[in-house]
């Protein structure tokens, strides 16, 4: 089954409040009550927002109030109904609404819609402890993507969310078996289209989304600069651009991991915000899918840096991204209608 759906994403801080509760909790409570098909709350490793306060897990004091990203995917009417009751992110966050295709249930051979014939972002939602043939589902999915020649994949661990409409929140003690994870990969529509039925065979209850993206850079080589989209859509919503930079903790620029250098450069350039999400498993290119090891000094996992800004500013940010990903990494661009974008202006 392939359905038209909407993906609601909010970017805020872990300690942002909405009345008496934390904003992220209020959002996820709402997703749970509305039985949203899939939603996930991700904690960032580093980032900054509209006020340019740097948050990083590298320093103890600055790891207070790390960035959080919540994602909710469901059919268009159900997400639109959600918007009316979504707690406001006020002056510190951002809400975006993107269209996506959701695939669930029996995934036989399928023909992707025409708009997905270019580059496609594949997102697979699985449970933390979900297993396929005795291997963790996230590892099995990464392995499949690797074997089928996809350039890279990143598995992100959620701390809260809903799966098939049921709330699954991680607890400090407990197996947290069904707390959602998401695996992100970018590839050509044609190749992804061939992998989808295989994923359908692998997973018991597949839950997959496909989104149209443009690949700007691959392994340090410029494919194309982000296109300038119209600044508003037909309903007058501001159209912004999203860059996603897929790199590895191992990739260094000037002695620093690329994503760390990127956040610092973007912050001093006056960009509106950036969020780094660290994967717990994944791969880039030829290296086999891997996580971190218990005994290691340097980290090896993949990371994703998300940069959302207005079209004119994204050009400046892209120059920085371009410079820092001279040898490594995949960069994609997407158009995003930004809803709750307020800049404290």
């Amino acid at each position: 089954m392939i359905a038209d759906c909407l993906k609601l994403t909010t970017y805020s801080g872990e300690r942002h409040r909405s009345g008496r509760t934390f904003l992220a909790d209020a959002q996820l409570d709402l997703f749970g009550r509305r039985e949203i098909t899939t939603s996930i709350l991700l904690r960032g490793a580093e980032g900054f927002g509209l006020k340019h306060h740097l948050r990083t897990d590298r320093l103890l004091t600055l790891s207070e109030d790390l960035p959080v990203v919540s994602v909710a995917v469901d059919t268009r009417p159900r997400i639109e109904a959600l918007l009316e009751d979504l707690p406001a992110v006020e002056h510190r966050g951002l809400v975006t609404l993107e269209s996506a295709r959701m695939l669930r249930g029996d995934l036989g051979p399928l023909r992707l819609p025409d708009e997905l014939m270019g580059a496609v972002k594949l997102t697979v939602y699985v449970g933390r402890q979900e297993r396929v043939y005795r291997v963790p589902a996230f590892a099995a999915v990464c392995e499949l993507l690797h074997r089928r020649g996809i350039a890279g994949a990143t598995a992100l661990l959620g701390v809260d969310g809903t799966a098939h409409g049921r709330r699954r929140r991680a607890r400090f003690l407990g197996r947290n078996a069904e707390v959602p994870m998401m695996i992100i990969a970018v590839g050509s529509g044609e190749r992804i289209g061939r992998i989808v039925p295989e994923l359908g065979g692998l997973l018991r209850q597949p839950l997959i989304t496909l989104e149209q993206v443009r690949v700007c850079k691959r392994d340090g080589e410029l494919v194309e600069r982000p296109h300038a989209p119209p600044t508003t859509d037909e309903l007058g919503t501001a159209m912004w651009q999203k860059l996603m930079v897929y790199t590895s903790e191992r990739a260094l620029h000037d002695g620093q991991p690329v994503h760390r250098a990127l956040v610092r450069r973007l912050r001093s350039s006056g960009a509106r915000g950036a969020t780094v999400l660290r994967g717990m498993w994944g791969f880039h290119g030829e290296t086999a899918p891997h996580g971190d090891r218990l005994l290691q000094l340097g980290r090896r996992v993949p990371v994703v840096t998300i940069i959302i800004d207005t079209t004119d500013r994204i050009a400046t940010s892209f120059d920085i991204v371009d410079e820092l990903t001279a040898e490594h990494g995949v960069v994609t661009s997407e158009m995003v209608p930004a809803l709750g974008a307020r800049f404290g202006e």
Binding site: H53, L54, D57, R58, L59, L60, T61, L62, E64, E249, R250, L252, G255, Q256, P257, R260, R264, R267, S268, L297, G298, R299
Partner: protein, 121 residues
């Protein structure tokens, strides 16, 4: 008397850790650097203060409140270690070595300086 003293330790100790949070936060976000300057400044200034206090040779209760409670909660060994480990994770070997060496040697020098000044006041 001892109850008042221990309540004093609790309050001053709490204030010390809040002060550290503030100082560290301001320095770390101002510099925006990979190197943990905030923790370094906190530990060095704490070492000077502690040297100064012991140099002044206060009474037993005053030493407990100013030394153990105030400076003890203001400075942080665990954060120094934690941030050093994080530098290792990021493959920042030069910063890692600098963080250990500078904190250690400058820290001892800071404590000695504080003590010297304190004993001449």
């Amino acid at each position: 008397m001892t109850v008042v003293l221990w309540v004093g330790v609790v309050l001053i100790g709490g204030a010390g850790s809040v002060l550290r949070f503030a100082v560290d936060g301001v320095i770390a976000s101002r510099t925006g650097s990979a190197f943990p300057y905030g923790t370094l400044v906190v530990n060095l200034s704490g070492a000077v203060l502690l040297g100064l206090i012991t140099g002044l040779a206060p009474g037993r209760d005053e030493a407990l409140l100013a030394g153990t409670a105030a400076v003890g909660s203001y400075t942080t060994f665990s954060t120094w270690m934690f941030e050093t480990q994080r530098l290792g994770e990021d493959r920042q070997m030069r910063n890692l070595a600098a963080n250990v060496v500078v904190s250690l040697f400058a820290g001892v020098a800071a404590a000695a300086l504080g003590r010297l000044v304190g004993s001449h006041l």
